[in-house]
């Protein structure tokens, strides 16, 4: 090609050769700078990716380290922590750090929330996925998205200002702060999560299975109960586990509506305290930065982290491992 150009104008052939040479070297230079840039960018992106690992490592490191610090205090023993249900870190002389006092509150709220959110979420998901006409879907989906996007502090306000008075109107025994009200609000919060995850699971069941069941004379209900639900089971269980993890970690609702008296009770009318509620109480009040009660916050956070991490990992694992694949 160089020659062709040279033939066209012989006079400038030498200068053209020079120019071609220049272009060639320039592109070689470009190539090496490109390679360099590529490597730098790749390293930068790897750094971004490793950053998320760093977050996990530092969560575990910080929580574990400060929890060790907590157990180094004389007034704290592991036996008391794991074996007692009496959580009274602020009581001066008679301090007791029994984590079950907080875990029981958490479980009570989570239980109420799940009793509300799981059946409702699953049935709404079935409706959306199997029954609902397009128009209803188009209305219902955005409503669920709005519900999912409302900040938790708003649900907390709703629980304290609307649900609690309603419960008190129904039954006199309800405390101003009670587990029921917080549990219901957490349930409302988790409901869209359950619903959208379960719907994803149902939707991923191939249509051929659905059509097969219907073609054999089954009703929609038969098809759902006997074919689609079993096929989507892993996804649904994973949705449940993730919702439970979310409910356990929920903070603002319980901080506002559940109260601040840790006790192991099954009575939903009573005031309780959850693990997250305790952390908020610690952060909101002015506790000295070096006392046992301050470090107890880390021990509680570590427990909470372990529980939710186990549930999340289990949820992700179930979804990945036990997914039925259809070719």
């Amino acid at each position: 090609m160089n020659r062709a150009v040279a033939e066209m104008s012989e006079a400038s052939s030498t200068s053209l050769d020079a120019r071609a040479g220049k272009i060639l070297t320039r592109s070689r230079k470009n190539l090496s700078t490109t390679r360099l840039r590529e490597a730098v960018i790749y390293i930068g992106l790897i750094a971004c990716g490793l950053f998320s690992l760093l977050i996990t490592v530092s969560i575990v490191g910080v929580l574990f380290g400060e929890t060790l610090q907590f157990f180094r205090f004389d007034e704290v023993t592991l036996a008391n922590f794991l074996g007692s249900a009496e959580w009274t870190p602020l009581l001066g002389a008679t301090k007791s750090f029994g984590i079950w006092g907080l875990i029981s509150g958490t479980l009570l709220v989570t239980g109420i929330a799940m009793a509300f959110a799981l059946p409702l979420g699953l049935i709404t998901a079935i409706y959306l996925s199997e029954y609902a006409p397009r128009k209803t879907r188009d209305i219902l989906k955005p409503i669920l998205e709005v519900l999912a996007g409302i900040p938790t502090v708003v649900y907390g306000f709703f629980a304290l200002m609307t649900i609690t008075p309603f419960l008190q109107w129904v039954h006199d025994g309800f405390n101003v702060y009670n587990a029921m009200s917080a549990g219901l609000a957490v349930g409302i919060l988790c409901f869209p999560t359950v619903c959208s995850l379960a719907e994803d699971a149902l939707q991923s069941v191939p249509n051929s299975l659905r059509d097969g069941a219907l073609g054999l004379g089954g009703t929609r209900f038969d098809a759902t109960l006997k074919v689609i639900l079993p096929a989507a089971l892993s996804g649904i269980i994973s949705a449940f586990l993730l919702a439970v993890a979310r409910a356990i970690g929920e903070t603002m609702i319980v901080a506002l509506a559940a109260g601040s008296r840790p006790q192991a009770t099954l009575d939903p009318r009573d005031e309780i305290q959850t693990m997250t509620g305790f952390m908020v109480q610690m952060a909101g009040g002015d506790v000295s930065n070096f006392g046992t009660e301050y470090f107890s916050m880390y021990a509680v956070a570590f427990t909470l982290f372990l529980i939710t991490l186990t549930l999340t990992m289990l949820g992700n694992l179930v979804r990945r491992r036990f997914r039925e694949t259809y070719e």
Partner: protein, 429 residues
């Protein structure tokens, strides 16, 4: 698949021989059909519950909140009197924290998504690292936000205690702060200025080199400044010893300082003020929120990148583009609307996030919008929490009004995301 098999045997089974059999089978299917009808109705009823809940939720908040909506709420400071309370410092705090959070999080989040989606692992080692990162991100998404708050408290607010001196909490590294010791003159002292009415009350500032120096002792010839208007003007002060009796000249009295006066230390911080550790400042809040929404942004960006058809990538690669050139010129522009939608939704989550901010900032009374990255702050959801947890009824309606403002902000964000999504769908069609 075994399920299918079951179904098959069920319908294969006995061909009705007698009218009795036929009848019972018909009755069986009637039962099934009516069951289906009942279930469908139950479904509709339960699905309607979500609509009812939403209406009830919004209704109760609007009826409580709208009557207390006012301009004062948007521009005022959180006064102890509910009538005049406003949320301007909280709104400004939200704007500061969330914009800084977005600036930090978006590059890291999108970078991670690009790495995982566009750069195929080159050897066995990177394959392993990539899958660990991927699993780690989905696990991080399930960590409760309070836990991130606790991490932020240790990692950003106190920086693992690395800067703790022998005394509690000292700022060891500071840029942009000027310290002054403030003296009042004798004219402000009712005993000294007795009878001399026209002596002016004045405050003098003596510059101090560092925050940890001992208090300045007033001496003759000391450099001192005074605020006149908005500017610091150097003034000469007269130091009066314990034996000296202050002059009764008002001019002289207003310039004189008792030699044994104990100053108060004040500081002036420039807009670029920076300190290590970060303390309970805006930057620590933004970084903590980053931890919360980073997994959300990574996951949604990954989905957006995955939705770009691979034919585009293959075309560009065929023309000799490098991996990054493909990403920068082809994939990112094609995925931009999706990434943007995901990021907007993640930001609206950051705006509503309360728990981690509550952990790291605590409940503090803030009267001003933040002035620099280390300034103390509060955010709108936290202000709402504060108002809601007070016993007085009036604060509850202010809290409801605050919620209406918060929901309006979130609604704007979500509407933007929806519009963007729709526009994107139209384009690809």
């Amino acid at each position: 698949m075994s399920v299918n098999h079951n179904n098959a045997t069920e319908t294969d089974s006995p061909v009705p021989r007698s009218p009795k059999d036929l009848q019972s089978q018909l009755r069986g299917s009637e039962k099934r059909i009516s069951l289906d009808h009942i279930f469908r109705k139950a479904c509709v009823a339960i699905a309607a519950v979500s609509v009812v809940i939403l209406l009830f939720l919004l209704g109760s908040i609007i009826t409580q909140g709208v009557p207390s909506l006012s301009i004062t709420l948007l521009t005022g400071t959180p006064e102890p009197d509910a009538e005049q309370a406003g949320a301007w410092p909280a709104i400004a705090g939200t704007i500061w924290v969330c914009s800084i959070c977005a600036l930090i999080t978006l590059p890291i989040g999108i970078g991670t998504a690009v790495l995982l989606e566009e750069f195929k692992p080159r050897n066995r080692w990177t394959t392993k690292v990539f899958s660990v990162i991927q699993v780690n991100i989905s696990n991080l998404a399930g960590v409760p936000s309070v836990v991130y708050g606790i991490l932020g408290l240790t990692a950003f607010v106190s920086m693992f205690g690395l800067f703790d001196g022998p005394e509690q909490r000292q700022n060891h590294l500071e840029i942009g702060a000027t310290y002054y010791d403030q003296f009042t003159n004798l004219a402000s002292d009712p005993f000294m200025s007795m009878g001399i009415e026209d002596a002016k009350e004045r405050y003098f500032l003596a510059p101090v080199a560092s925050a940890s120096l001992p208090p300045t002792v007033p001496k003759a010839g000391m450099t001192a400044f005074e605020y006149q208007g908005d500017e610091l003007i150097e003034v000469d002060v007269i130091i009066v010893g314990p034996e000296d009796f202050p002059s009764d000249d008002p001019e002289e009295l207003s310039l004189s300082i008792d030699a044994s006066a104990i100053p108060g230390r004040i500081s002036e911080k420039a807009w670029y003020y920076f300190s290590l550790p970060f303390g309970r400042g805006v930057l620590a809040g933004a970084l903590t929120l980053m931890l919360v929404i980073l997994p959300v942004i990574i996951i949604s960006s990954q989905e957006a990148l995955r939705a770009v058809p691979s034919s585009l990538r293959d075309g560009a690669r065929g023309l000799g583009a490098t991996s990054w050139q493909v990403v920068w010129n082809i994939t990112l522009p094609a995925a931009a609307p999706g990434i943007l939608t995901g990021s907007i939704l993640a930001m609206s989550r950051a705006i509503g996030e309360t728990a981690p901010i509550l952990i790291i900032a605590g409940i503090v009374y803030i009267r001003n919008a933040p002035q620099h990255l280390m300034d103390s702050y509060t955010v709108l959801p936290l202000q709402i929490y504060n108002w809601t947890s007070r016993p007085q009824e009036e604060f509850h309606s202010i809290a409801a009004a605050g919620i209406v403002v918060l929901l309006l902000i979130l609604l704007t964000f979500n509407a933007a995301a929806v519009v963007l999504r729709q526009r994107m769908q139209n384009k690809t069609r």
